[in-house]
Amino acid sequence: MSPSEAKEAPKYTKKDFESDQDVRWCPGCGDYAILSAIQKTMPDLGIPKEDIVFISGIGCSSRFPYYMNTYGFHTIHGRAPAIATGLRVARPELKIFVVTGDGDGLSIGGNHMLHVLRRNVNLTILLFNNRIYGLTKGQYSPTSELGKVTKSTPVGSVDRPVNPLSFALGCGATFVARTVDRTIPHMDEMLKRAAAHKGTGFIEILQNCNVYNDLAWNVIYDRESKVQHELRLEHGKPLLFGPPDDRRALIMQGVSPKVVRAKDVPESALWVHDETNVNAAKLIADLFAPDFPIPVGVLAAVEAPVYEDLILEQEQKAISDRGPGDIAKLLTSGDTWKIS
């Protein structure tokens, strides 16, 4: 049963989701915007707030649960997806959000991320990607660009970065989206979409760490650059981007995406976005500025079996077939012998 069916949720306001804890992020941190966006969206989910749980690992981003007036568990580094899986299997009627970072979710937590995604556990995962380790005061992360100069890499990092969207899709994720900490309304929309998804809803949120990696995402923050590069994905709509006076279209040339002037392309030849096509999503996920647009929105949303649903089906079937377990019966079943 979904929580909403369970009980009628009271009418909430943003305030209802603000906890009494002082928020301990640096002034100017992108996390503030995300926090307020989420607190603002919560009432629209129509879920009683006692049925909502935020689970996180460790990191600035993972401090998140303390600031939500719901149930919350700030756990250990990288393990939030596993903990959330256990919680969901125990309590499938709860609405569970996982908050993680590019280090928490993709460095130490990469394996749990892989497996929660392939299992398609019904969770909403918010990955705050600031391309840096914030809490530990600024080392490069798995999403930092090659050659990144940080405390731990004074002459530049030597690791090729991982793309969270491509990774998630490679793991078999059933819902993959991207949004940006500075576009509140879009964040709201993505959040609702992900929360409504049956299975694991994975959202990458581009987030600014103004202390250790300021403006890492400026290419999508800067007004002019944003106009040039932002590609808003909308199901059923063609992949068009760029300024009104110079629209660009993304098309397939053979098996490679290509950018062309929109007016040079016949209506029929446009690439129409289809959230249910994971193949397409994988191609879109790899795109980024400057040579390509920056996709924002829902890349993929497909139906697939949900891990804990199957577990409970098996349990229900076992009980309806042979009745609930009875330890006394079990103990005396099979080979026994009496001694008198």
């Binding site: 906890s19 804890q21 009683p48 707030k49 006692e50 049925d51 749980v53 689970i55 460790i58 649960p65 303390y66 939500m68 007036n69 719901t70 149930y71 919350g72 568990f73 700030h74 756990t75 250990i76 393990r79 596993a82 903990i83 959330a84 899986t85 256990g86 919680l87 969901r88 299997v89 125990a90 309590r91 009627e93 709860l94 394996n111 749990h112 892989l114 497996h115 577990i311 098996q314 349990e315 076992a318 009980i319 042979r322 009745g323 609930p324 377990g325 009875d326 330890i327 006394a328 079990l330 103990l331 005396t332 099979g334 080979d335 026994t336 012998w337 009496k338 001694i339 008198s340």
Partner: protein, 623 residues
């Protein structure tokens, strides 16, 4: 089937009464020695004997036939008196091939019964076993032991030559010949095995027929063949009346959890990643979904323990299990449960290490890890079962204490208990102590770390409870409110509180029962799977008039409150362990008693013989 077993036929030949016997079946991994041993065990249980078993198989899935490392064996001791161990030296060894003979002969008593399958002693097998010449041709063998060369393969094929099975299938039944023969020698009833064959091969009449015939052929062979001049009867043991079943440690742990689930009315979420010898608990639990046991085969041990913690946070019983290196990986997660003060049960089926070590071999060397294997001060409850059947009660108790004190409980079983079995007097579940779960629902005056004055436990709140929304985590927190706190005095207070909470569990521990005089020359202190060996050794010494007693600890943290007093009642203290001396260090540090250890770390259970010697040495006497 519940009845006193009737002795088998064949009473004409002289039948000698024994009060106990130790026998071992040994052969190739493919020879079905484990099955043979298990069936012989059931027959002996039927016959009303007390018994203890020791399966022993290679780490390799299916080692190449005939090799030394491919040898698989099953040993049991059965008797008309209390049997504490699978036994040390063998009265009877059945060797199905040269490798088996080579590996096991040294354990056979001089004058012991040695039965070999002659046909397996061909050039190829002899080479593989590293025999230059056929040992069966060596006269000394027949001099030292009562050697019986039996062409089991030949007799087997003969018995079923008319059946429509291929040679491979036919050959595979020869273990039933051995079983039939040895069953005759020790006057075991065949009913349980015949019964088992019927059920097992219901779908394959020919195989059923073959096994049946071969079993009887082996039995008849013993009865008629000239070579066996005598055979033996072992009277039923004096055992507490009641309904019995054979029980292994891993199954007992699983069933103990089922009992706890039913009694607490909570689902069990069991997070595990396969590993020898813990995997069978997962396999067992997965078959009992009706008890609302939800098994998660996690991606690794870290996910397994953290998934269990997530379940506990949700108000279910979070349990995880592993062995060896898998337990080492859970330390960080257990630390989270300690500071989040959530119930968690961790089953550690100890195996020989360090690192990968010897996965299928037993050991007791994880005690210190259980006590200290986490960063900083992270105290947990530690329990250890004494016998396979005891695993049932320990698992149940672990759940009860974890939920009552809101703290992780580590259970230290081992490979020997896990796979070994004993005749187990089936308990009445209603006699188990209740597991009362009270989830907090009252908003008034709620704080996440408000403590129960008696147990110091914080309230357990199920997410979904209106008005009690709260946040917890791994950062140090203020007592009562649970808010993040870096206050120095609060941290000191919390460190002491977490320790005191575990110390309070001492109030749950019954008075320590002493096997022997309440004061004397020597106290032998043990824990875990060595119970049988120690008890046998101590009783042997007592019979020899020594002033020796033993206590066996099931609670290792906290220790029984009366232990310090007891220790001081004896001149000396001996602590036998399958490690380099761990409990002995704990006792010395805790009570400043000059306890000495007896330590053999061979991947095998301790032999009561060697413990007995150690006792005598310590008492300056002779065996």
């Amino acid at each position: 089937m519940a009845q006193i077993a009737t002795p088998a036929t064949g009473a004409e030949k002289s039948r000698k009464a024994l009060d106990r016997a130790v026998i071992r079946f040994a052969g190739d991994s493919g020879d079905g020695m484990q099955l043979t041993g298990e069936q012989f065990t059931t027959e002996s249980a039927w016959a009303g004997n007390d018994l203890a078993t020791l399966p022993n198989f290679p780490a390799e899935i299916r080692a190449p036939a005939g090799t030394l490392f491919g040898v698989s064996s099953f040993q049991l001791q059965f008797g008309s008196q209390r049997v504490y161990t699978p036994g040390d030296r063998l009265d009877c060894l059945v060797a199905m091939n040269p490798a088996a003979l080579k590996v096991h002969l040294s354990d056979l008593k001089t004058g012991g019964l040695l039965i070999v399958n002659t046909q397996a002693f061909d050039k190829r097998n002899l080479d593989k076993a590293g025999y230059a010449a056929n040992p069966l041709d060596d006269a000394t063998l027949a001099e030292r032991y009562r050697l019986h060369k039996v062409d089991m393969t030949g007799l087997t094929l003969e018995a079923i030559k008319d059946l429509p099975l291929n040679t491979k299938e036919k050959d595979r039944t020869k273990n039933f010949f051995a079983l039939g023969l040895v069953s005759w020698i020790y006057t075991r009833p065949l009913e349980p095995t015949l019964d088992w064959i019927k059920k097992r091969f219901i779908k394959n009449k020919d195989i059923a027929e073959a096994n049946t015939r071969v079993l009887k052929a082996g039995h008849a062979f013993g009865e008629t063949a000239e070579i066996f001049v005598e055979h033996y009867a072992i009277e039923a043991a004096e055992m507490a009346p009641g309904l019995y079943r054979a029980m292994t440690g891993n199954r007992a742990l699983a069933w103990g959890l089922l009992a706890a689930a039913q009694r607490s009315k909570l689902p069990v979420v069991y997070g595990a990643y396969p590993i020898t010898p813990a995997s069978d608990i997962l396999h067992e639990l997965a078959m009992h979904k009706r008890f609302r046991v939800r098994t998660i085969q996690a991606e690794d041990e870290i996910a397994a323990v953290t998934a269990a913690i997530g379940a506990s946070f949700g108000g279910a019983i979070g349990v995880t299990a592993s062995s060896g290196p898998g337990i080492a990986l859970k330390g960080e997660g257990i630390g989270l449960a300690v500071t989040a003060e959530l119930p968690l049960v961790v089953l550690n089926i100890q195996r020989a290490g360090p690192s990968t070590g010897m996965p299928t071999k037993t050991e007791q060397a994880d005690l210190m890890q259980a006590l200290y294997g986490r960063n900083s001060e992270a105290p947990v409850i530690v329990l250890a079962p004494a016998t396979p059947g005891d695993c049932f009660f320990i698992a149940y108790e672990a759940v009860r204490l974890a939920a009552k004190y809101m703290v992780p409980v580590i259970v230290l079983s081992d490979g020997f208990l896990a796979n070994g079995s004993e005749p187990w007097l089936i308990p009445d579940p209603n006699t188990l102590p209740p597991i009362e779960i009270q989830f907090r629902t009252e908003r008034e005056g709620f704080f996440p770390y408000l403590r129960d004055p008696a147990t110091l436990a914080r309230p357990w709140v199920r997410p979904g409870t209106p008005g009690l929304e709260h946040r917890i985590g791994g950062i140090e927190k203020q007592d009562v409110t649970g808010n993040i706190s870096y206050d120095p005095e609060n941290h000191d207070h919390m460190v002491r509180t977490r320790a005191e909470k575990v110390r309070r569990v001492a109030q749950e521990i019954p008075p320590t029962s002493i096997n022997g005089p309440a004061t004397g020359d020597l106290l032998v202190v043990g824990w875990g799977g060595t119970y049988g060996a120690i008890t046998a050794a101590v009783e042997q010494a007592q019979t020899a008039g020594k002033s020796v007693a033993s206590v066996h600890l099931r609670h290792l943290n906290p220790l029984p409150p009366d232990l310090g007093h007891i220790l001081r009642e004896y001149r000396k203290v001996l602590v036998p362990e399958i490690n380099s001396g761990q409990l002995v260090r704990v006792l010395r540090a805790e009570y400043l008693v000059d306890a000495v250890g007896f330590n053999r770390v061979r991947g095998l259970p301790l032999a009561s013989e060697e413990i007995h010697e150690a006792i005598n040495q310590l008492l300056g006497g002779k065996a």
